[in-house]
């Protein structure tokens, strides 16, 4: 890698900005994500800032199972983010739907709608675990930069692409 690529890689690692999207969660994950920016955990130390506009952010944190009503809104927010963009699904619900799996108004985990890069287990995960997930996401970002995109992971994963497209 040449110097400018290394500089960019360093900058991306140092400055991940996040947007939190509640896709139908019970708030527990949300308050733990917000708790991560407050004094005890203070993620600004690592350059993590919570941004309001998805246009400004690098990482989308999806909390909760995706309800039928939120599905297309979640997709819209994801589409508004500039590349390179990453998605973290928090909690058991974000991964699979958790206790809400199979309920009539729940679609399932976040990966039914957007491609998820990192899953955080827990109900809800502690703020430390959420910070750890961001760090894992940054490592993934580095790997992707080496491979020149996310495709290498997509091929490796046996599961079909997670986007559900209906006219």
């Amino acid at each position: 890698m040449n110097l400018s690529q290394r500089l960019v890689g360093w900058a991306r690692r140092k400055s991940p900005w996040i947007t939190v999207f509640n896709s139908g969660s019970c708030n527990a994950c949300d308050i733990e994500v917000i708790a991560a920016i407050t004094p005890r955990f203070d993620v600004e130390r690592f350059g993590i800032l919570a941004k309001g506009s998805p246009r400004h952010s690098d990482i989308l944190i999806v909390t909760g199972p995706v309800t039928l009503k939120q599905a297309k809104r979640l997709r819209m927010i994801y589409d508004q983010m500039p590349e390179p963009k990453y998605v973290i699904a928090t909690g058991a619900c974000g991964a699979t739907g958790g206790v809400f799996q199979g309920l009539y108004h729940v679609l399932g985990g976040a990966d039914r709608v957007v491609p998820v890069d990192v899953y955080v287990a827990g109900c809800p995960p502690r703020p430390d675990e959420i910070i750890d997930a961001v760090v894992k996401c940054l490592e993934l970002m580095d790997e992707d930069a080496k491979h020149g995109g996310k495709e290498w992971r997509m091929k490796a994963a046996a599961a079909p692409p997670p986007v559900e497209v209906t006219a």
């Binding site: 139908g24 019970c26 708030n27 733990e32 005890r40 939120q70 809400f100």
Partner: protein, 393 residues
């Protein structure tokens, strides 16, 4: 200026939870509001019918992560009432302790969010710093920070180690001092004063008419607190006062919540110092006889009621949840008309909306205001009149 339609939500940084307002504004002044809030509807009530009592409790805990203890306590006390089960006193005291800690964490969280809504991030950081102390206590008692998983039908699942009590009391002393400091700050900081006072005003008559509950009602001078009016879980033994005032605005609601922080500290102190000895849970029967219970609970946001119907099985026939936020929504729609665009976040935040509670089954009616006293046209006329007066035209 022409009317502008400002969509707020379902994703919006001011709202930690999804809700959609279509705000029709005349310049900066709100002419009317259309609300839509069921983005979190998951269908928990249907799921509750198909699981037995033991498995419903964790599900109800996840109606809302902020008031998880409220929902479970309300449910288990309803089921216990149907079964005619007596819960050991120690278990009841522990429920009270967790409930009041939850109220403290919720009110501190609210204070931070309200400060954030008016751009006062320093206060937001401070209150959330202190909230961590409450979280620590909760973690010490229940093992979890947010979804405590401490309730079950018949009592609580974990006993409290006596050696933990002195540490908890010490933390409460610190929190008490901080609470006083927030009260001082609220009284003297100029921007907070001008953003909270006179905003989102609800008179006592309006508060009654629109069926408000909790701190929203108490800030309008209504002495309505389920802990006193319909005591449950041994609240009749706890020393506390119902905090009310007559401001009726966001400032009043803030004062009520800070007052309740103090009262909660008093209750927790009393409960921990007089913790009865004995078991923490009784063994419940497997099935509940046929019964119909309206179980009420004073959640941090106000009166929470569960309508429970049992029918000689180990499942509920029907569980209907009415959350405090739902009761308070009508008042929001009314108190926002004629206010400024900039006041939306803080007025909405002032009822402390818990949308995941509410949208489990919810509603809001864009015709709310119409069902009450004003028609759309009257609302609009009211908005314009307000604008004129403000500008001195």
């Amino acid at each position: 200026m022409p009317e502008v339609v400002v969509p707020i939500g379902p994703y919006h940084p001011a709202l930690k939870e999804p809700v959609n307002f279509r705000v029709i504004a005349d310049g900066e002044v709100i002419v009317r509001l259309e609300l839509d809030i069921a983005y979190n509807h998951r269908g928990i009530e249907k799921a509750a019918e198909s699981r037995d009592f033991i498995r419903v409790v964790p599900l109800l805990e996840r109606i809302c992560g902020i008031c998880s203890h409220s929902h479970t306590t309300n449910f288990v006390k309803g089921i216990e009432e149907a079964m005619g089960l007596t819960v050991p006193r120690r278990g009841q005291y522990l429920r009270v302790v967790v409930a009041e800690l939850e109220r403290m964490h919720s009110h501190l969280l609210w204070l931070g969010v309200a400060a954030h809504e008016i751009g006062f991030n320093t206060l937001f950081m401070w209150t959330w710093r202190d909230r961590e102390a409450v979280q620590d206590i909760l973690e010490e008692i229940s093992g979890n920070r947010v979804n405590y998983a401490i309730n079950e039908v018949g009592g609580v699942r974990r006993d409290l180690r006596p050696s933990a009590i002195p540490g908890i009391l010490k933390r409460l002393d610190v929190l008490e001092k901080r609470t006083e400091r927030y009260l001082e700050l609220l009284r003297h900081e100029p921007t907070t004063a001008i953003r909270f006072q006179g905003v989102g005003r609800l008179s006592r008559a309006q508060a009654l008419e629109y069926g408000t509950v909790g701190p929203t009602a108490r800030a309008s001078g209504i002495d309505y607190d389920i802990r006193k009016d319909d005591p449950y879980v041994l609240y009749e033994e706890m020393p506390f006062a119902v905090v009310t005032n007559g401001h009726g605005d966001v400032y009043g609601r803030t004062l009520v919540r800070i007052g309740e922080l103090r009262e909660s500290i008093r209750i927790i102190r009393h409960a921990l110092e007089n913790l009865p000895q004995g078991a923490v849970r009784a063994t419940p029967p497997r099935v509940a006889p046929r019964a119909e219970i309206l179980s009420r609970y004073e959640a941090p946001r106000g009166e929470l009621s569960h309508f429970i119907r049992t029918n000689n099985t180990d499942r509920v026939e029907r569980l209907d949840v009415r959350t405090p936020t739902l009761a308070n929504w009508t008042s929001v729609a009314v108190s926002l008309v004629g206010q400024h665009l900039a006041d939306i976040p803080v007025v909405v935040a002032a009822i402390d909306p818990c949308l995941s509670c509410t949208s489990r089954i919810t509603v809001v009616d864009e015709g709310l205001a119409r069902t009450s006293v004003l028609t759309w046209d009257e609302l609009r006329a009211h908005g314009i009149r307000f604008y004129r007066e403000k500008e001195g035209l």
